[in-house]
Symmetry: C2
Subunit: 299 residues, 2 copies
């Protein structure tokens, strides 16, 4: 019963998110056709939409208006998407493939891919600060939520994590450095999503802290599970080549902690995420389910 | 007398802007040293600071608090700077030099330059939406001003203009296309600066429209004067090689309109910018002077 409920809830959120994303990048927009095609190619390529889902569900759990939170949900996905486009560029990870398709610059060229990333990052703030979005929530909440996202995405957050990643390439790093890198590179946006949802929903301080702790725990668990799947899964299930971390001589939670410890830590973090939500009472049902599903996922 | 007044005013603004920019990128910040060094290298490299000056002066002319507008002035300069860093990258204009120094990626590498640009773009929104900045102005004005900047910097503004520029490379373009490109690529941020200053200063609708018209006129005049100087100046006065547009077979206002017509149009636009400010009365003194100085500049 719980599973079916959360399954329906996830489908409803995905449908809302996909529909809203398309309104920001209408196909009829023929000005700058190349740029918009490149933005659409990566932004509308599907994916789990974890970050926007967290915003909508935390907003709802705090008693807020899910529809008013939609521009913010789309904004965080735009920022996540821009980071993937820039990350794949030849001067960065030089990845030709992303989610089973040629990466953005392989299709549109490096120049347009760079600009599509810049435009998505900028559009994130545009949609959060549009008159309608601000009016639906009140300027105070809108500005606070957009500010949380800006801080998480920048030099002390996601971009900072990418720098640590670059600096660590081909070098042995400690478990602490790996954790710091992941807290910045991927954790910061996940924590921001949880906090933004709370702010948009009018949370109290206790809920805001709980959301932050939940976000930190599932963010790190997510990375550890990624590393575990790279050694325990098979290419067909995972949807991408397994064993790539070992092949690239990359320091991972599995290589630094051992497989057993990594699995134990992921389970502990998932438990901590669930416990963190105590103050949400019954409203935490779907968020608990989400933490458990992310831990148990096979790809 | 007027000249000395405006000269002092410009010096005061520059000092405020440079000081505030440094507070956002303190040298003591040793986390992500490479990233912050790259951000500092380009952001603190001087320049005319025209856009932040417009924000501060329009804010003052509308009776607003110049100090409260400083984060917004810094934000627009961060966005201008990120666009220069990304523009210089090998996959874009591939420029080795900028303002007489090696461009960012020549010093820090393409990967760090890319990320420094991303971080500056993101930091722009972070500083505008910080608690203190929002409280000093009220969330309504802060969100509106930040929203104006986001719209101007994105796919329908500055980034869109860069795409037109890319598409026009090595091709003959019409005067209309050249104007559209400049209106987006450089005009949009100048217009945004004027409007943001008005919003932050609590302008009425008449003032906001006047600022928009002023910004459009000086933005276009600025580009025309750039093209004129490329054929009429000498390398020492200009501070960069003259005749580079001809050498690059580039369509310019001079090549499309002729030198005489270009000079006449720049003068007309400057006149239109001055007239647009009528509703500001005495408060327009410095903005009038600024329009005239930009038209009469030698580099």
């Amino acid at each position: 019963m719980v599973n079916r409920m959360t399954d329906n809830q996830q489908k409803e959120y995905l449908s809302l998110i996909e529909k809203q994303l398309r309104t920001y990048l209408p196909e009829e927009d023929l000005s700058q056709a190349d740029l918009f095609n490149a933005m659409r190619y990566s932004l509308l390529a599907g994916g789990k939409r974890i970050r926007p889902t967290l915003i909508l569900e935390f907003c709802r759990a705090c008693g807020g208006n899910v529809n008013a939170a939609l521009p913010f949900a789309c904004a965080i996905e735009m920022i996540h998407t821009y980071s993937l486009i820039h990350d794949d560029l030849p001067c960065m990870d030089n990845d030709d493939m992303r989610r089973g398709r040629p990466s953005n610059h392989k299709v549109f060229g490096e120049d347009i891919a760079l600009l599509a990333g810049d435009a998505l990052l900028t559009m994130a703030f545009e949609v959060m600060l549009q008159k309608e979005a601000v009016e639906a929530l009140g300027a105070q909440r809108a500005a606070q939520a957009a500010g949380i996202l800006a801080a998480a995405a920048g030099a002390h957050g996601m971009v900072g994590g990418q720098v640590i990643d670059l600096m660590s390439e081909g070098r042995a790093i400690s478990l602490d450095t790996l954790k710091t890198m992941d807290e910045c590179k991927t954790g910061a946006l996940i924590v921001a999503a949880a906090k933004m949802g709370c702010v948009l929903g009018g949370a109290n301080d206790e809920q805001l802290t709980a959301a932050e702790n939940y976000g930190k725990a599932i963010g790190l668990a997510f990375q550890i599970v990624d590393d575990i799947l790279d050694v325990t899964s098979d290419t067909q299930t995972l949807g991408k080549p397994v064993g790539s971390d070992i092949g690239n001589d990359k320091c991972t939670y599995v290589s630094l902690m051992g497989l057993d410890n990594a699995e134990k830590t992921a389970a502990e973090l998932t438990g901590a995420a669930v416990s963190a939500l105590d103050c949400f009472g019954e409203q935490a049902g779907y968020l608990i389910q989400l933490a458990q599903e992310l831990a148990a996922r096979k790809n």
